[in-house]
Amino acid sequence: MRRRGWYLLLVLPFIGTLIPPLYNHAAPTLFGMPFFYWYQLAWVLVTAGLLGIVVLMTRDGRV
């Protein structure tokens, strides 16, 4: 089942959010918000997008 490969996309949010030294700083700010805050909020949207892709691409296959 090659479709299962899409699930690997779901590893990205874990890497992106669970290593705080990657994003624990102030610059660059967005709308006055330090990077620490808007970066993590952005991951909410990115993760929703990744989940959307995985759900669409694996529609018939069973896990």
């Binding site: 949010p13 874990f14 669970l18 909410v44 929703a48």
Partner: protein, 485 residues
């Protein structure tokens, strides 16, 4: 009576009526456990989205997280990565569980554990864990409601208790009557009010405080000036704490009985999968609400009772009638999950603990489950009278540490039959004992400082005890298997 109090009162009365009307939704026979507890497993994508959103985003989101950010700064923001990575986990675990549960007619996680391992002691252990972990989470909902009601009492928090008790008795009554259909219907009202309130709050409040840049610099100064200073950024020793709190919470979110109850109410596996991608919209709300903790700091709100931070902020910046709307959003936002939590816990008790002592299913179980809902609400109410914790969120975090101990038996069990049930039971027991011991040693803080290899690692209790649980389960399985061959 102020217009805010009037609007809050009318809203709570309105959703109570809705809760009783919900019994007629779909014309189902509510004496059947699947109808009462799971809404007949009939909810589509949209109803499930509102129900799950109403169920998972609770007083934790509206009150406890902003309070923590207000109290300790950046560390409190762990709830955002938590509410992000919970969904990839949900997609994989829940779509698998939903399929098995539908095929075999399971109502709870312990139903699955019973069939997989054929071990009654393990089934009862799993069920009791869910019941016990649900109680502090329901108590957290009450803390949220108390924060709202005490705004309207000039004499302070103690005088909010009559209002709190009345609201909770009504909740128990309509949940008893209508089952899961009541919170499902009320969730539409709740989620609408929440979206309106949060959008209004993040548009109005930061602008009135001179923009986000100003909010953050004032917050940084206020946190640094505290007797126990903190920061809007993490200190390097907090990295591990932050990551383990986010990961541990995310692992436990979808094994709570209230999550399972709402998930099993979905009509199809595809409904669950779609919702895994659609529900993170609520997590964005959670993040914005967390930042209201900083708005409160910037606005100079000073209080010992951190749970009242968000209601106080609303009272300061919104016109009186809208304060009523916003407070109704918080109060109803606490009622919906409290109802589902008591249903989920009652299901576990009726199906997996009592059932082991009687052979009849359905009608008798439904009666027991309904009565238990009332009992669970009563116990949760006592909880907040007698268990003081510094931050409301500790209720949820310590409950999560207990909840996570079913992970090896339940989640790993979805994919493998390798573990021996007695080994899982021993691992579960070690995990629970370790969680309680660490919580006790740390003065009921959710994090524990582990001293090893010459250093100190402060992390979420739930993950430490899960690691112990997994190790014990694996080693004992190896030993028991060697003994039998």
């Amino acid at each position: 009576m102020s217009s805010a109090a009037l609007i809050l009162g009318v809203s709570v009365t309105g959703v109570t009526a809705l809760g009783f009307i919900a019994a007629r939704w779909g014309g189902a026979n509510l004496r059947d456990l699947e109808q009462w507890a799971l809404g007949g497993r009939s909810f589509g994508t949209i109803v499930s989205w509102f129900l799950l959103g109403g169920d998972l985003y609770t007083a934790y989101t509206f009150v406890a997280v902003p309070a923590l950010v207000y109290g300790v700064g950046a560390l409190g923001f762990f709830a955002v990565p938590y509410a992000t990575i919970a969904y990839p986990i949900a997609l994989i675990v829940l779509s698998k569980f939903w399929t098995i549960a539908r095929d075999r007619g399971y109502v709870t996680t312990a139903d699955f554990v019973r069939d997989r391992y054929n071990d009654r002691a393990l089934e009862i252990a799993i069920a009791l864990t869910g019941v016990v972990a649900a109680l502090p989470y329901i108590a957290l909902q009450l803390v949220g409601m108390r924060a709202v009601f005490s705004q309207f009492s000039t004499l302070g928090a103690m005088h909010a208790f009559p209002a709190l008790t009345v609201a909770f008795v009504l909740l128990a009554a309509y949940t008893y009557t209508s089952g899961l259909r009541a919170p499902a219907m009320i969730a539409f009202v709740k989620d609408t009010l929440i979206y309106v309130t949060v959008i209004a709050a993040v548009t109005v409040i930061p602008a009135r405080l001179g923009g986000w840049g100003h909010v953050f610099s004032l917050s940084a100064a206020a946190l640094a000036a505290r007797p126990k200073p903190s920061s809007i950024f993490l200190g390097p020793p907090q990295y591990f704490t932050y990551a383990t709190m986010a990961f541990g919470s995310a692992l436990s979110l979808f094994i709570y009985p209230h999550s399972i109850t709402s998930v099993l109410a979905a009509r199809s596996r595809e409904v669950i999968r779609r919702n895994a991608a659609l529900l993170p919209i609520y997590s964005l709300l959670l993040g914005l609400l967390a930042l209201l903790g900083y708005c409160a700091l910037a606005a100079g709100i000073s209080t010992k009772d951190t749970t009242s931070v968000v209601p106080q902020l609303f009272a300061r910046f919104f016109p009186n009638w809208f304060v009523g709307v916003a407070d109704a959003a918080i109060a109803i936002g606490a009622l919906v999950p409290a109802a589902i939590m008591s249903i989920g816990a009652a299901n576990l008790f009726a199906s997996n603990v009592f059932r082991e002592f009687s052979l009849q299913r359905s009608q008798v179980e439904t009666v027991i489950a309904k009565r238990l809902t009332l009992a669970i609400c009563a116990v949760a109410l006592l909880f907040i009278f007698f268990v003081p914790v510094p931050y409301a969120i500790d209720f949820q975090l310590l409950g999560g540490a207990l909840m996570l101990q079913i992970f090896p038996a339940f989640v790993l069990g979805l994919w493998t039959r390798w573990f021996h049930p007695k080994a899982l039971l021993a691992g579960w027991a070690c995990g629970l004992i370790a969680s309680c011991a660490m919580a006790y040693a740390g003065g009921f803080s959710a994090n524990y400082s582990l001293h090893a290899f010459g250093g100190t690692l402060t992390g979420f209790i739930a993950l430490y005890s899960l690691a112990l649980n997994l190790a014990v389960s694996a080693v004992l399985t190896l030993l028991l298997k060697r003994g039998t061959t």
